[in-house]
């Protein structure tokens, strides 16, 4: 009993403040990369919620036993519970949306810098998403159709590109191999190099 009250006391001045901190963290980072998954923050919020819930259980039991006047306190704690729940769900959901956007922007392989800020479950989710997207794309046409390609209508089959970094050998669908060296220019099939342009390896010149 005393322990519960203590935890509550810690958060008393700022009920729901820790959950809000998670939301703020995401909001701040909107233009940059995804911040690391804040496991510690989440755990603290869940702990706060557990304390609130236990206290409410106690008081509900007391009320059914005939004690009066506790209802408004229960309502207050319940509101805090719902608030925390909303913050947590928004946190997870927002991250999921961004990871999904990433799949469409840069392809099925997560760059290591991005991967580091995901938690185990998020990586798992990404793999599942990849898999179902691939299954779907295979199923829509007899030969399959890559939906992430041609996000804008193509005007030509071949495009002129310049290499921005040393990428190494790149094998195309027909088997020809191109050596992508920094600052070299190539004339390649658009569909083949579109992902590389999106990843920033190539630059579309013309």
């Amino acid at each position: 009993m005393t322990r519960t009250v203590n935890i509550l006391d810690l958060g008393a001045r700022c009920l729901g403040e820790k959950a809000l901190e998670l939301v703020r963290e995401l909001k701040r980072s909107q233009d940059g990369n995804l911040p690391p998954y804040n496991e510690d923050g989440i755990r603290q919020v869940v702990e706060e919620m557990r304390a609130l819930f236990e206290q409410n259980q106690l008081e509900v039991r007391a009320t059914t036993d005939g004690e009066r006047g506790l209802l408004s306190g229960i309502q207050l704690r319940h509101a805090c519970l719902e608030r925390n729940q909303r913050c947590l769900l928004a946190y997870v959901h927002h991250r999921m949306t961004r990871i999904r956007d990433y799949r469409w922007q840069t392809g099925s392989v997560l760059p290591p810098s991005f991967r580091l800020s995901l938690c185990e479950q998020e990586i798992q989710w990404f793999t599942h998403y990849n898999r179902s997207l691939a299954t779907y794309m295979r199923s829509i046409a007899p030969t399959g159709l890559d939906l992430t390609q041609h996000l804008q209508p193509p005007k030509s089959l071949l495009v002129e590109v310049r290499c921005l970094e040393d990428y190494g050998e790149f094998e195309m669908e027909d088997g020809t191999v191109v050596l992508l060296h920094k600052n070299t220019q190539h004339y390649l099939p658009r569909s083949q190099c579109e992902p590389l342009i999106r990843q920033g390896v190539l630059e579309h010149i013309h």
């Binding site: 909001k27 233009d31 940059g32 509101a79 608030r83 949306t97 579309h204």
Partner: protein
Amino acid sequence: MSSLTQSSSSTPSYSSGVPSSAAHYRQPPAAAGGAGDFFDLGDILASQQRVPAQFEQTVYRLGFLDAQSSGEHIQSGAKMELPLWLARALGGRRRNIVRIDLPKQYRQQQRDILRADANVVDLFKQGPYFYLMGVKLLFFDHMERSDLAKSLLETFLNRFRRIMDTSHHAFSSDVTMFTTRLDETERVLFHIGQRSVAAMEKWERGRSHRIEASDVVQKRRKRKRED
């Protein structure tokens, strides 16, 4: 759910080479019943702002919430600043554990200033989510409710023209002095305006068909350069 469909509809925006952060500039949803979009970060932050409230009932064993008194219970009549979400849960139209008052920036005096000239007011300072919060306050049964609603709408209309103008024409000049005075909703509109000008310019130069590196990659590159 609505946020899901919204952001997936933003996917095609990669094609125009416009930063895909359309999802981030996502327009705050109309918070009709004051509830807003459940997953919207802006909405959550907006509902954290505090409103002055007075307790109408005694709340037992939660005295520690009130920093001013050391009692075990919150006495009926105690005054406290509560975050909007809490006030809403305790003082909605049906429940009446607390009664709320309008925060300073929404009171008569401030509304008069806004009516005189809305363009000179720094709305960001008045709570970064001035409109969102204002709309949420309409949820409460407050005497000045209809006045507040009118004032919010008028303020928005009066400022909107200037925002659109600036976002379309001050493209290459420094607008930070202007944008720091906008509330978050207005900033979203401002960015939409700027993005559309950029897209138009690109189209005029015949560059809209060019494939560009994705937004995330571009940002990372910028950061590397800064390092």
